[in-house]
Each structure stands twice: as structure tokens, then as C-alpha cells.
Amino acid sequence: MEKMPKWADVVLIPLISLILAAAISALVILGIGEDPVAAVKLMVKGSLGSTYGWGYTLYYATNFMFTGLAVAVAFHASMFNIGGEGQAMLGGLGVALVCLFVPWPHWSVAILGAIAASAVFGAAWAAIPAYLQARRGSHIVITTIMFNFIAAALLNYVLVNLLRPAGSMDPATAKFPAATNLPTLHELLAPLGISFSKSAPANVSLIIAVLACVAVWALIWRTRLGFELRAFGKSESGARYAGISPFKITMLAMLISGGLAGMMAINNVMGEAERLVLNAVEGAGFIGIAVSLMGRNHPFGVFLAAILFGFLYQGGAELALWTNIPRELIVVIQALVILFTGALDNMVRMPLERLFLALRRKEA
């Protein structure tokens, strides 16, 4: 017997967690002498009040969809991939290489090459921890997090010593050729007669991210591989009984996970910066963990949670820009959301379960 209806698990718990996080955030804002209502208004206006705001919100959301999906896929196989950050960095390197060194005729072809390169680079970066886990039992949490640092160092070396244009003081690649520049939402929506802010970075990658959500859903719940992945994630000894190879599943789950994290680079590197800079990922790899947690590791949940975190990111930036609320407070608010939706999940869940049980007993 389920303890409570599915809708309560999927909708009610995240909603209550969010409200709690918002309430405590409001107290913190009050505590530093600012007006929480005005702050919320500003956040909503700055992130959702204009196509410019939406453009940024969706741009961030695109990043988080990729990294959130990456965490979700690994999680279904019972692995905690904390290496999204490093995998996305390497994905960026893949994108930079194909954009700089392949003479693409048009962005539509270039994006296919970039997707492939970013996925391969991200997957390759995840492959090493996956192999170490599958063959040597080195815990994936430890190795993936260490690989984030190695990725940062590697990128530093490559940008400074190999890809930096001669004479530049900036540890970044040259601008990508114009033929690889992705159309923004402004360009995509203009033919439809919808005017969208010209300067917002949201671009065609958003569509790829949404397609990735659908593809991951189909992979997890409609394919044999997804079946094996979930079976392995729920019971390793059961998988052994069924003849599912732990090595194969560990490798494939992490390759797919790393590939998804890497694909984030088509948005931030190819779509927005149009060159590869240091720290291009800006923590999106870690936000992906929260997004996946909040989205209950379901692609649709990841989609919604990514948009929420996009809103927090953009709204937070606006808040820092227009008020005396320091930038750090935004991090506090984001942390509270993560804390309540992720770590303190049971705090909301258990009383709610008890409530539903009591209600049911009354009916019976």
C-alpha cells in the first residue's frame, strides 16, 4: 500500500518545501533590513517580467536541464555523479575544438558536430571514474568530484598554453567563426511574428535540452537499457541474478550521464559566449544535483526544476543589481531551496505521510 497519493509526492512535497524555503529567505531579507515583498517583486519582474528576463531565465534553465538530466540518469543506476561540473567543462573543450578547427558551412550542421563533440568529451571524462568504480570499486562520488578539479586544471593548461590566440592576455579561445553562431530566441521567434529581446542569451539549445528531456524519459522507461539501468539501481544482487552486467551498466549509465553534462556546452559556450573561457560552467554542474533532486530524478521534474532554478539565478542577479541585498544573499536563498527540496525532504514528507494515513483511516 502506498503511503500517500502520487500527486502529493510529486507536487505537494516540492511545493511545501519551496514555500518553507521562501519563508525563511523572507526572514533573512527582513533580518538585513530589506523588504522581502519588494525583493520578490523585483525577482519576478527581473526574470519573468520581460522577454529579456525570460531570455536569461531560459538560458540558465537550459544549462540546468542538461546537468540535471545527467545527475538523474546516473541516479537511476544508483550512482551519484557529482562530476557534472568537470564533464561540462570538457564538453566545452569539445565544442571549442570542433567550432574552431572544422569549417562549418552553417550553424545547423555545426550544432550537430558540437553536440557530438561535447557529448563525447563529457562522456570520456565520466568514463574514467566509471571504469574505476566498475573494476576497482573506487567510489564514484569521490572520483567524480576529484575529476572536477582535474578538469579545471586541464582546461587552464589548454586555454593558457594551447588555445589562447597569440598576443591575447585572456585565457580563452578566439571567437568562434560566425557560421557556428547559434540563433537566439529573438532570431528564432522573429519569423513567427513574436518579438523577443535581442540581447538575451537563450538560444536554440533550449530546444535541444527539451528534446533531451524527452529522450531521457524514453530511455529510462521505454528501453531495455533503461530497464536494466533501473533494475541495477534498485538491486545490484537482483541484477546479478537477472544476468545484467554491473560493469556494462555502470559504464553506460556514466557515459550517458557525462555526455548529457557535456552537452551543456552547446548552450553556454557555443550559444552564449561563442568562445571558450575559463570557468564557463559557473557551477551549473552542481546546480544540476539540486535540480535532479527536486525533480525527483524524472525528466519532466528536471525540466520544471531547471526553470525554477533559472528563475532564481536570473532573479537573484537582478536583486543584486538593483538593491542593497548583497550577491551572497542570493546564494543563501538558492541554498535554502536546495536544503529544503533536497536534504530536508523527509521533514516535509513524514508529517505529510502521517496526515494522509490519518485521513485514510478516517475514511475506512
Partner: protein
């Protein structure tokens, strides 16, 4: 009449929507053995946990020697003279018997006085109850039967007058069980009160004075053992008439299906678990493997099922098949017609969070019938197949969308058995087919296994329930310490002889 040693009045306990105990009242007379029998999940363990202070009852009262007693924790239970021997012993393996006995009952900061006092008390208890154990032996060197004695001594050392034993014979050989019953008999003579929790009707009939039957959280009857029969008790437990005897026609063995030669398995710690097992099974025959749990039967099933690597030769229908580690695994076994009902359905046989229909595909998810195309599985076809199998095997409720964890033990096992038997395998490996399964489902599962045999399939049956082995098998092989001690025909042997073999007493070299 003196006051009952223990009396429960109107005990109720609910876990969420599940009413585990409902208005339970019993009175246990001093100096008697009172049996509590019921199927898994009937509420026996909950009731005893309330008595021992692990759970707090929602309602009801406990009287000990006529006095109302509150038992908020196990300390209070011990103080009230209640001792508990758990199914899984609570002993520190690398401590001596003496150290285990004083653990938690030390007299002061220094151990030595407690130890020497305990040694004296132990000697007394030994004489009084004929409970012989070497006080200086390390627990892990003791046999399971002796470990159980230590548990009983622990309770007696704490001056328990009421002793509760939870499924005490589950881990014992028949001979050890007999010894235990002699000890219990002696304790009863000395005026102790014993509550024996079991699901084995034979034990109830053998030793108890009175018996209470539990079903679905309620006490359905309390009767004098002398006035009842196993059939009546079974009916009270299940709520309908059940067939205790398995009915089967004589086997008609055909050609040899499985041949195993000198099969060896070494576990991850380097301990030899199978030490050269050879056996064969013919078509239309059930070979039962008897043995006390942990003597290599699990490894035999797992290596044959492709789950663990091993050494030796396995031939199926005359053709040698690779062992796991040489590229074989559970899937490769299924592909050549070996089906496997694993010993632990919750750990191996099912994914507890998966829907029933996903579990019906589990292990067979490569089956072309379950694929829509090269990319996607045909979940709708799979659900139809599941609904069909659930109906045929009387799985209740017949809902393919229900998660495995939400079925009862018996119905979970039916899902596994349906999945494996419906594949029409040449060889069926079955481990503990009825462990934790209610009597009604046991009857059904036994029938299915025999029906498969009658279709000319070979079956390897592993069970720690000797009754099950004796009633189902066409031949019985006894395992002890990773070896086959001997083979017997069920109608030419008895529990005593098998029990000796299970304890490693007689080795007559194998062939029957």
C-alpha cells in the same frame, strides 16, 4: 487455580493502516509450554515485541503473575522475569560464552567478580536444566544449537521465569531440534513458563500444552494441544481447509538433463563453499537437496544459475555449458532453458520497487515478445502477459501495476514462480520455494512444481524445510560442509537418518 504466569488483555497495535494486533487476550499458565502459531504476518512477532518492550501497544494490559505490569522497554521486561530467545541470535561472536552471559548484566565496574559469579551460577543452571555448554568457548566456535543454548542461559541468568522462543528450530538440524525440545521439557518440569512461536505444526503437536492460533492480527482460537489435530490448526491458521500432504504420482525419470561433476566454489574471502559436488538429475525428476542452511546449498544454486563463478563441469542435455566467469551469466542460463527461483526473492528474485509487470520481465527482458522494435520495449504486451500469468497463478491482487513490495510474501513468490515456470524450462532451480509463504500458497506452489515435473522437466529443489524436501523430492541428496553426504530415496529414509547426514555424521560416499 493460581494466577496465570502471563496474561494479556485486549492488546491492540496498528502500524499505519495495518492492524498488526487486534484485541488479543491470552492467559498462559505457569509451568506450561504455550504455542503461538500463525502464518507470516499474522502478528506473532508484533505481539512478542510488545511483550518484550520493543513496541508500545495502542491498547490493552499485561499482567504478570496476576499483577498489572507496564513494559516500556526491554529492561522492564527482563525485570519482570521475561526472557527472549530471538530467531537471529544476539550474541557477540568473538566473546566467550561467559562474557556473553554477563553482557549487560555486569555487577560492577570490574569484570572479574561478575565472571566468577556467572561461572558459579552457570554451573548451577547446568545441573538444574542439563544445559551443557563450555563457559570458556568462543561463540563462533559453537554449533548453532549450542549458541541457542547460550541464549537460553542468558535469559535464565537474568532470572527469567517466562521464556519466549521465536521460531527456535528454523536454524537447527532435526537432532538439534530434538535436543532443544528436551531442554524445554526440562525447563517446564522445573516450573518455567515457555512461549513457543512457530509456524511448524509438528512442533506444536510435539511439545506444547496449549496452543493459540493467530490469523491477520487476531487470536482466532486457544485450545489444549491434546484436543486438537494438525489439520484443525492449519484450518484455523488459513481460514479454510488445506491439504497438508503433497499428492503426487510416482516419478517417471527420462534421460539425464543435468550432470554436475566435481563442482567447486570459493567465495570472495577465499573460503571453499562447494568442495567438489557431483550430481545428476533426469527429466521428470525432482532432486531435493537437504541440509542445514549455510552448507553450500545457496552456492550450488547460484553457480548453476550463473550468478557466481566456480570450477568444474556442468552439462545440460549432454552439452557442456560454461561457468560464470567464463562469459556465462544469469541471462546465458535462461537462454539455454535453465530457470531459477532464487532463495531470496526480495534480494534477487524481484525488484521490490518495480511494478509486477516489470518483475515479470525481469531476467527475460530480452524476450522478443516483449520488444516493440529494435529500440523500445512493448510494455503493453508485457502487461497483458503479466495479467495472464497472474490469473493462471492466482496472484492476488491480480494488478500488474502494483509494486512487488506491496504483495504478500506468498504472492511475491507466486510472481517469481509464474515467471520462471511459464518459460517452460528444461531445468528449474528452486531455492526455498515456500520460505515466508502462507500455507495456502505453499500448497499451490508445490502443485506447480510437481506439474512441471510431470511434464518431463528436471527440477533441483533446495530447502531447509526437511518436510518439504521429503514430500516433494523423488531423490534426496544431503549436503554438509560443501559436500554431498549421501543420497536417499524418500520412501526408504526418515528424518532421523537424514538428520544424521545433515550433521555430517555418516558419509557413505554419494551414490544411492
Amino acid at each position: 487455580m493460581t494466577a496465570p504466569a502471563l496474561e494479556l488483555k485486549g492488546i491492540s497495535k496498528a502500524f499505519g493502516p495495518v492492524q498488526a494486533n487486534k484485541d488479543i487476550s491470552i492467559a498462559v499458565q505457569p509451568g506450561t509450554i504455550h504455542g503461538i502459531i500463525g502464518e507470516n504476518g499474522a502478528g506473532k512477532s508484533t505481539l512478542m515485541s510488545i511483550l518484550y518492550g520493543f513496541y508500545k501497544a495502542d491498547a490493552g494490559e499485561i499482567f504478570i503473575k496476576g499483577e498489572k505490569t507496564a513494559i516500556p522497554d526491554s529492561q522492564a521486561a527482563i525485570a519482570a522475569g521475561i526472557g527472549m530467545v530471538f530467531q537471529h541470535f544476539k550474541l557477540v561472536e568473538n566473546f566467550t560464552v561467559l562474557e556473553n552471559i554477563i553482557l549487560g548484566a555486569e555487577d560492577g565496574r570490574l569484570l572479574r567478580p561478575s565472571l566468577s559469579k556467572a561461572r558459579k551460577v552457570l554451573r548451577q543452571l547446568e545441573q538444574e536444566y542439563e544445559l551443557h555448554v563450555d563457559p570458556d568457548e568462543i561463540i563462533e566456535n559453537l554449533s548453532v544449537g549450542h549458541q541457542q543454548r547460550v541464549e537460553i542461559l542468558k535469559a535464565l541468568y537474568r532470572q527469567a521465569d517466562i521464556l519466549i522462543l521465536d521460531e527456535p528450530t528454523g536454524v537447527l538440524t532435526p537432532a538439534e531440534a530434538d535436543q532443544l525440545f528436551r531442554i524445554l521439557d526440562r525447563l517446564r518440569e522445573e516450573g518455567k513458563t515457555i512461549i513457543l512461536i512457530t509456524h511448524k505444526l509438528r512442533e506444536i503437536m510435539e511439545i506444547t500444552n496449549t496452543v493459540s492460533v493467530m490469523r491477520r492480527g487476531q487470536m482466532t482460537a486457544t485450545v489444549k494441544t491434546a484436543d486438537t489435530t494438525p489439520e484443525q490448526l492449519a484450518e484455523l491458521m488459513v481460514g479454510r481447509k488445506v491439504l497438508l500432504q503433497v499428492e503426487k504420482a510416482p516419478a517417471q525419470p527420462g534421460k539425464t538433463v543435468l550432470e554436475v561433476e566435481n563442482l567447486k566454489v570459493t567465495d570472495a574471502k577465499g573460503v571453499a563453499r562447494l568442495k567438489g559436488v557431483s550430481l545428476d538429475i533426469r527429466a521428470g525428476e525432482i532432486l531435493g537437496i537437504a541440509g542445514v542452511a549455510g552448507n553450500g546449498q545457496s552456492e550450488l544454486l547460484e553457480v548453476l544459475g550463473g550468478m557466481i563463478p566456480g570450477d568444474g563441469v556442468i552439462r545440460l542435455n549432454g552439452a557442456e555449458i560454461p561457468l560464470s566467469g567464463q562469459g556465462a551469466n544469469g541471462k546465458a542460463r535462461r537462454d539455454i532453458g535453465i530457470a531459477h527461483v532464487p532463495e531470496d526473492r526480495q534480494r534477487d528474485g524481484l525488484i521490490m520497487d518495480f511494478h509486477a509487470w516489470e518483475n515479470v520481465a525481469f531476467g527475460y527482458h530480452h524476450d522478443p515478445a516483449y520488444q516493440k522494435n529494435a529500440l523500445f520495449m512493448d510494455n503493453a504486451a508485457l502487461r497483458e502477459d503479466t495479467a495472464r500469468k497472474m490469473e493462471k497463478f492466482d496472484v492476488r491482487p491480480p494488478d500488474p501495476w502494483l509494486a512487488a513490495k506491496n504483495f504478500s510474501g506468498g504472492n511475491q513468490q507466486k510472481v517469481v514462480v509464474a515467471r520462471e515456470i511459464e518459460r517452460n524450462p528444461d531445468l528449474l532451480l528452486v531455492g526455498q520455494p515456500t520460505r515466508g509463504v502462507d500455507i495456502g500458497a505453499i500448497e499451490f506452489i508445490h502443485k506447480q512444481i510437481i506439474a512441471l515435473r510431470d511434464q518431463g522437466k528436471a527440477i533441483l529443489l533446495v530447502s531447509v524445510e526437511l518436510d518439504e524436501i521429503m514430500s516433494l523430492s523423488d531423490r534426496i541428496a544431503v549436503m554438509f560442509d560443501g559436500q554431498i553426504m549421501g543420497e536417499r530415496l524418500p520412501d526408504q529414509t526418515n528424518a532421523q537418518e537424514l538428520g544424521l547426514l545433515m550433521a555430517g555424521m555418516a558419509n557413505d560416499g554419494g551414490a544411492a
